[in-house]
């Protein structure tokens, strides 16, 4: 609902407030354009992220370098972005997945076991690991939709189960990425091979573009919003609420597995302490910072993307200007709160500004 010009074209009556009030054409367009931009839910997080980005760029010459941008985007932002896509979809349809961080942890181990102990070719092992992500999503859907557990509890349960399986099977020890998978791994992301250093963020951007389209321009997206906005109404109009929820859990699981594999390839190690609740909470924080409502019915993929970028700029920038790791969390926490307060208050202004 961004371009106001077309909106004016299909007028039924004149828009409230009348159109005669604005000055000359250009000024009105500008004012209209700015207003339309600020009315977007993502506006706040975009402005905050941009301001921080500029601040770090000016403050420290090491920030805007090829190496640091690659780390910031591929190393930090990309996993949060991709996980946030799933969480945005789930939050919009009224659910949440706390287990996605452990799907992340489990997937590369599964690939490792399949290659190392079962002699799977790397590509097949990767595909099976991705299918495993879908399966975890299916189980979460089954617990939530079919057995009617609240998704918060259901996915908390699957979280612990998955973590237990990871620790049991790996004996809590990290392993190396199997040599046969390293070649394919570059496409997913690799920190050391500098040309491939950008592949993780490219994946993230492409996935954001695809799922943005899915959410805003397909029946699936529309029905996801409808289910979260008015579940009874959605069911009344014949939408299969179960199908939408199962589907979004499975998309989230798939993306969780993908990110797990990516990070393993990027770091060139498979670590039982990777992923987990930390990544999951960063993803949910990114979604909510980007304007996704915790209660469902509203949110955007672009918002999640910007939210994750903001978190990454924050983490990376404060580290680079020399704030040590421990107090960084204080600033980080306060930063999230500040961004969120801005979001909520501006949202209130937006509501009040509507006619």
């Amino acid at each position: 609902m961004s371009d106001t010009a077309e909106r004016a074209a299909d007028v039924f009556g004149p828009p409230p407030g009348g159109r005669a009030a604005g000055g000359n054409g250009l000024l009105r367009t500008l004012r209209h354009g700015t207003g339309a931009f600020l009315r977007q839910r993502e506006a706040t997080v975009f402005v905050v992220a941009l301001a921080l980005f500029l601040y770090f760029t000016i403050d420290n010459s090491n920030f805007l370098t090829h190496a640091n941008m690659s780390t910031l985007l591929s190393g930090d932002a990309s996993p949060w972005i991709i996980l946030a896509i799933g969480e945005v979809l789930l939050l919009i349809c009224g659910e949440i997945d706390l287990s996605v961080g452990f799907t992340f942890t489990m997937a590369p181990f599964l690939m490792y076991f399949l290659i190392t102990y079962d002699g799977f070719p790397a590509i097949l092992a990767i595909i099976v690991s991705l299918i495993f992500g879908l399966f975890v999503g299916f189980v979460n859907g089954f617990l939530t939709v079919t057995l009617r557990l609240p998704s918060f509890i259901a996915t908390l349960g699957t979280s612990f189960v998955l973590y237990g399986v990871v620790l049991t099977t790996s004996h809590g020890e990290p392993v190396d990425v199997p040599a046969s998978a390293e070649h394919i791994g570059k496409f997913f992301g690799n920190e050391t091979a500098s040309a491939w250093g950008w592949s993780a963020i490219i994946w993230a951007v492409v996935l954001v573009a695809i799922f943005h389209m899915v959410l805003t321009d397909t029946r699936w997206g529309l029905h996801t919003v409808a289910v979260g906005g008015n579940q009874l109404g959605a069911r009344e109009s014949g939408i299969s609420v179960a199908r939408i929820k199962y589907g979004n859990f499975m998309i989230t699981g798939l993306l969780g597995a993908l990110v797990g594999l990516q990070v393993a390839f990027y770091d060139n190690t498979i670590d039982p302490s990777a992923g987990g609740y930390t990544y999951m909470f960063y993803a949910i924080a990114a979604a909510v910072l980007g304007g996704t409502a915790m209660l469902g019915g509203a949110g955007t993929i672009i918002g999640g993307f910007l939210g994750a970028l903001l978190l990454a700029i924050f983490t990376d920038g404060f580290a680079i200007i020399g704030i040590s790791a421990n107090p960084l969390f204080i600033i980080f926490g306060l930063g999230i709160l500040a961004a969120m307060i801005a979001n909520v208050q501006l949202g209130r202004l937006r509501e009040a500004g509507r006619t």
Binding site: V11, G238, I239
Partner: protein, 267 residues
């Protein structure tokens, strides 16, 4: 059962019966909600189903829209007996209920709501342009005024929302519309939107409408005929022109008096 021969003759000229209900009763355990309902709906007619809270209006509505089955009785749609098994099935037969709040998704635009689960698609994407144009035309034809079909439903007034819910049902080729308390919680201006819409529908479409209400003054204005439901039975069936809000009020007040006397006797 009171019938008004004149009223029937008048409406019979408008076309045949689209719906007939015979000896419907509904019991929930020991509670009898409907004792013996007999009613009919003429093609293209607007029927006001009026009664006090607890008279059985909602129960009858739930039966007619397929939400729950009657304990006994028969329902005929265009002369053929039907068994309503679900809301979906009733809808596929052309019987659609419009509720006050349940219908719309506030976060979606007007046109997305109007096409919800019947979206136009140019695979894999939604054909928004075509849906917008058609929704705009449809609402314009019905005389429903809203700022824009792109507006989020949350931005609209109660009357506009109700109007859009009604428009959506008509659009889905409903033959019979059941409007549940369409004027409840609505001011005069808002209510006028709905009454106007009902008039428009009567003039321009073939849809037959049952308006369920306990506030009769305004409803009488748009109805061809009124059925008063009291204690699970239809106690009055008259053309709107032959009754008045006063008569209906008197009947309901008389019922209150009886109930009061009964209480005092048993006390």
């Amino acid at each position: 059962m009171t019938t008004a021969p004149e009223g029937q003759a008048a409406s019979a000229s408008a076309g045949g019966e689209v719906l007939r209900v015979e000896h419907i009763s509904k019991r929930y355990g020991a509670v009898t909600a409907l004792t013996d309902i007999n009613m009919h709906l003429i093609h293209g007619e607007v029927l006001g189903l009026i009664g006090d809270n607890g008279a059985g209006k909602s129960t009858l509505l739930k039966i007619l829209c397929g939400f729950q089955p009657p304990t006994t009785g028969h329902i005929f749609l265009e002369g053929e007996e039907i068994t309503l098994k679900s809301v979906d099935q009733a809808r596929s037969l052309g019987i659609d209920a419009v509720y006050q709040d349940l219908a719309l998704v506030n976060q979606l635009s007007v046109y997305h709501n109007m096409f919800l689960n019947r979206e136009k698609v140019r695979w894999p994407l939604l054909n928004n342009r075509s849906m917008r144009a058609e929704a705009a035309k449809r609402l314009d034809d019905m005389g429903i005024q809203i700022p824009s079909v792109r507006a989020e439903v949350a931005q609209l007034s109660g009357g506009q929302r109700q109007a859009i819910a009604v428009a959506r049902s008509v659009y889905s080729n409903a033959k019979i519309l059941l409007l549940d308390e369409p004027l409840a919680a609505m001011g005069v201006k808002e209510g006028a939107i709905i009454l106007d819409l009902v008039r428009q529908l009567k003039q321009n479409t073939n849809v037959s409408i049952i308006i369920i209400a306990h506030n009769y003054g305004q409803v009488l204005e748009v109805c061809d005929r009124v059925n008063l439901i009291q204690g699970g039975k239809i106690t009055l069936d008259k053309a709107s022109s032959e009754t008045s809000a006063q008569e209906l009020t008197d009947l309901v007040v008389a019922e209150y008096r009886r109930a009061l006397e009964e209480r005092q006797r048993s006390a």
